[in-house]
Symmetry: C2
Subunit: 319 residues, 2 copies
């Protein structure tokens, strides 16, 4: 990140016509955007939303009330413009791209085998990495995949301790029996892959999923090109979390858009030290929370770029 | 509010391509807007931001680090387009109006006398009432007035119990000694006007201010014309609070945009049963939080109006 840009933004913030600091996190967001973009006047012209889609072998364990076919059907809905993210990307004035991984073939059931072999995992990471154009001002990430809150919960547990009962939640609408099946599947996966629990990337391969691996690759590509990232909900955050386990500053170029209604998301955010910008009890995924945060970032930049200074406005100093 | 419109919105929400309820508060917001607009497909074409400005005699007690001249200087800054709310209203695609009350003459110091006489109070309420065009789809309210967190704190204390120490905060940047002067002024005002503490409107006259009275009038006008209202921070919320003390549903047509960094705002919001949409540590006033919430409402309506149903998208049912 560019310390000079951050400093220039902080210096300007201090002389704009408001009590110092009174725009709160909007001031921090402007500085964060500028630091990663390397611009004292950050811009949001090329805002991209990328949604990765994948299927999960663990769905065979009854972890979702929805059939796996819905993943592909929702990809069709994204293409037709009928999903929430189509509307939210439009409100955000962002370009939406949807990338199905592995032709939507499911991963292996992680209770029985690694979800992906090494070639499959690396191909998904590479697909995510290749999906981010270097000339991007802001990258919003999200996912679609029936069963993927189970994969995310298993990965979060592997990275931060805890068991299935602690990390399983209703996801896309599981009842108590469904949550119990999720917890059991998570515990079975953790037991099967216990020997690798200290290796974040290996656990991402073993209990994650194609769309989670692609998110990880996209977050890496953004870091290389200093593109600021907006994370979405529980699955997206869990997908990126291995990078924070590999390096304490691994997610410094990312903000957390919102806190999901999925209880595990708040727990995971606290482990990662990420403070959500919004908390509107959403639990949809597909980058919906990330896109919803974009207008807040636009507002932060509009204030920073457009406000007058005390001197320009002829306003009296504090007494 | 229009129960039929609310019902129609809830019914449509249940068949859109997402797990039921997964858009969280966005779903509630669409239903709330429709109920007050009386439309099954609510719109946000005529969004208005009105900022009322006034001065305060209690500033003589040293309750603000800023000179009273700043109120008028900031009105000039609003007119020139240099304030935060100018930028935030533009991001919100809202029309901004700024209304100075009483030609910015200060109220009386409420530690010595009622802040306004009855004619002055009613004129300010009437000015606020007259400021709201009936054909408004959404009304965002805010204020500017050096010293007005002291008036807001005195009014909140009068309405909901407590004393100056509990309700005084840093406002626009008071240090500990300044906060102590605020608390002392609030306590002196509460003592002087104690006999009227059970009368919300009388206390709004005695310890409030012109811009607070105008906000109260605007909220009343909005109610008469079924215009949904977005409240801003501590001062704006305190200004509207007498209506909730007069009738339990008095603020049902209003949402709270954000929770301010001013601690008393969270306390007041809990007293009123209002759940903020945002909590970004802002403490600026001038409708900044209210305007910032507008894109969230636009997003709620975009999802509601633009999403496909499960049947339209050919998506499988839950198992």
């Amino acid at each position: 990140a560019d310390a000079a840009a951050r400093q220039a933004i902080a210096a300007r913030n201090a002389v704009l016509t408001k009590p110092p600091g009174s725009l709160g996190r909007l001031e921090e967001l402007a500085a964060w955007l500028g630091a990663w973009q390397g611009r004292a006047t950050p811009v949001l012209e090329r805002v991209r939303v990328i949604v990765f889609a994948g299927n999960h072998g663990v769905v065979a364990r009854g972890v979702s009330p929805w059939p796996a076919d819905v993943t592909g059907q929702m990809v069709g809905n994204f293409a037709a413009g009928g999903a929430a993210i189509n509307q939210l990307a439009r409100v955000a004035d962002a370009q939406l791209t949807v990338i199905p991984l592995a032709e939507l073939a499911p991963t292996a059931d992680f209770t029985e085998a690694p979800a992906m072999d090494e070639a499959q995992f690396l191909a998904a990471v590479a697909a995510g990495h290749a999906s981010v154009p270097p000339q991007t001002d802001l990258l919003c990430l999200g996912e679609m995949g029936i069963g993927n809150t189970t994969a995310a919960a298993a990965l979060a547990a592997a990275l931060f301790s805890g068991d299935g009962t602690q990390w399983a939640g209703p996801g896309a609408g599981s009842d108590a029996a469904g949550i119990a099946r999720k917890a059991a599947a998570i515990d079975a996966g953790l037991a099967r892959h216990a020997a690798w629990r200290g290796d974040p990337l290996e656990m991402a391969r073993r209990v994650g999923g194609y769309e989670l691996a692609a998110i990880l690759g996209a977050v890496l590509a953004a870091r290389r090109n200093r593109v600021p990232v907006v994370l979405d909900g529980f699955v997206c955050t869990a997908a990126a979390a291995p990078l924070a386990r590999l390096h304490p500053e691994g997610l410094a170029h990312a903000v957390l858009s919102h806190q999901s209604a999925e209880t595990a998301h708040g727990v995971l955010a606290r482990h990662l030290g990420l403070a959500p910008l919004l908390a509107l009890e959403m639990r949809l995924g597909e980058a919906s929370g990330a896109a919803l945060a974009v207008p807040l970032l636009r507002a932060a930049l509009a204030c920073h770029a457009g406000m007058a200074s005390f001197a320009e406005a002829g306003i009296s100093a504090r007494q």
